[in-house]
Symmetry: C2
Subunit: 274 residues, 2 copies
């Protein structure tokens, strides 16, 4: 069975940066807190915990130490609160998410009705919401149909698919006078989606590797599923099942932006040894 | 044969206003010049000429009198030149076109790459171009594919179809960071297109009445043609041909925004007397 890994797969710039920043703080031997999981990969988060990083959901009760802001960002109110408490804050927000936060603030300041295309429950979106006086999150064309407004500003969660953004924009464009869109889907997302799409066409089975809580990994799975009917989302090599590959000649692997190389390698080896 | 006129057809607000403004000047018994045809309807332009309005293409050689700016607008340089020559200028530019001109100027001043969705040869578009330091006109998705830029501002010729604007926006959205769109397709255009679409579904033959040089009329014809295979574009009742209606039980009429009521009525009578 031939195994092909997608041209663009695994760790993106923002994830690498967040991990490096956190490890720098760990080196300083201070108490390190991560406000929510640093990235959406349980294996990496577990490794960081072993190195001493404590994952917390609130800074209530924290009196000293360094608070690392997760790669997905948090609402600005949380950062302010940490600083007011005298805690050191290390901002590991992905620079592309940071840019999106700035766009949301600017649109809100300029009185646009802010629309965030994304998932209401995702930490990145929760963070973005903190930058607008008022914003609405939409995740489908049907939700876009309900939006009213003369002057609408749109950003996207950085890990959404371009096609969803386009569909939402098409709907909004029918009824507003001004539509100001920042296409904030990051290049890592676009590249990984393109490579996955390309590879999925040429394989019998497609394996998508990454955290079950990772938005960009789930999107990769959604995309591959529409192209290759035998498509599986796993977090680790141990989850691979022999029966998935009956009659399979070529298997493709892609991985989300928060999936470490060693996990991809383990999956590759497991498949090659089958 | 049953004859049905579309709910929204014929003269729009901007056209009525342009004709009224011109006739007010005529009443003052001054020499009246129209810089290009006031509206895209030869019958109306001819009637105005009989009332004393002279259609000119340039103000070179004009020394006195009143210059009326056509409903489609002109580049601001032309207005300035007329004023510098001491000519009185009456601006009959449609207020919706005026608004589009202001958006083009604002986008250009704010360093957007200005994209005008429309027809390069149409006077409205030629006028709009005068409001930008630099702008590009695109009329199809293929042309949109060639556009590059980080920060793009889009307006539409007021008489384009929403579907074309959406298709162009979809293409641009794939590759720019910021896309700021003013949906300047006017409500008269949208309403006439909607009504025509609705009517075309229920008739055997569809007659579109309006100037051959009228962009919005041509768009109505394009739209009706996709729905009703027996579709004809005429300027006047005399052009109606008996052979178009063999076996026809219901005929629909729509008319562009520059088609006077009396022309629509003549077409209706001609059809009813068949």
């Amino acid at each position: 069975m031939k195994v092909i890994v997608a041209d663009n797969a695994g760790f993106c710039f923002g994830v690498k940066r967040a991990i490096a920043l956190t490890r720098e703080v760990v080196k300083r031997k201070q108490t390190v807190y991560s406000l929510g999981p640093l990235i959406h990969n349980p294996q990496v988060v577990e490794a960081l915990q072993k190195e001493g990083v404590k994952v917390i959901n609130t800074i209530d009760g924290i009196k000293e130490g360094v608070v690392v802001i997760r790669s997905h960002g948090v609402p600005p109110q949380m950062v302010r609160k940490a600083r007011e408490k005298g805690l050191e804050v290390v901002d590991a927000t992905c620079p592309f998410v940071k840019e999106t936060q700035n766009f949301v603030k600017m649109l809100s300041d300029e009185d646009y009705r802010v629309v965030i295309v994304g998932d209401n429950n995702h930490p990145e979106v929760k963070g973005l919401l903190g930058y607008a006086k008022k914003a609405v999150v939409i995740n489908s064309v049907d939700e876009a149909k309900k939006i009213r407004g003369r002057k609408i500003g749109v950003v996207s969660q950085t890990t959404q698919s371009t096609s969803k953004l386009i569909n939402v924009v098409d709907e909004l464009l029918k009824k507003v006078e001004e539509l100001r869109i920042f296409n904030t889907i990051c290049s890592a997302t676009v590249e990984r989606q393109k490579s996955a799409k390309k590879l999925a066409k040429d394989v019998d089975v497609m394996i998508v590797v990454g955290g079950y809580n990772s938005s960009n990994t789930r999107r990769l799975y959604d995309i591959c599923k529409t192209i290759c009917s035998c498509c599986y989302h796993i977090e680790r090599a141990e989850e691979v099942k022999k029966e998935w590959f009956k009659g399979c000649k070529v298997v493709g692997i892609t991985a989300g932006a928060s999936t470490p190389d060693y996990v991809i390698e383990e999956v590759r080896e497991t498949l090659e040894n089958m």
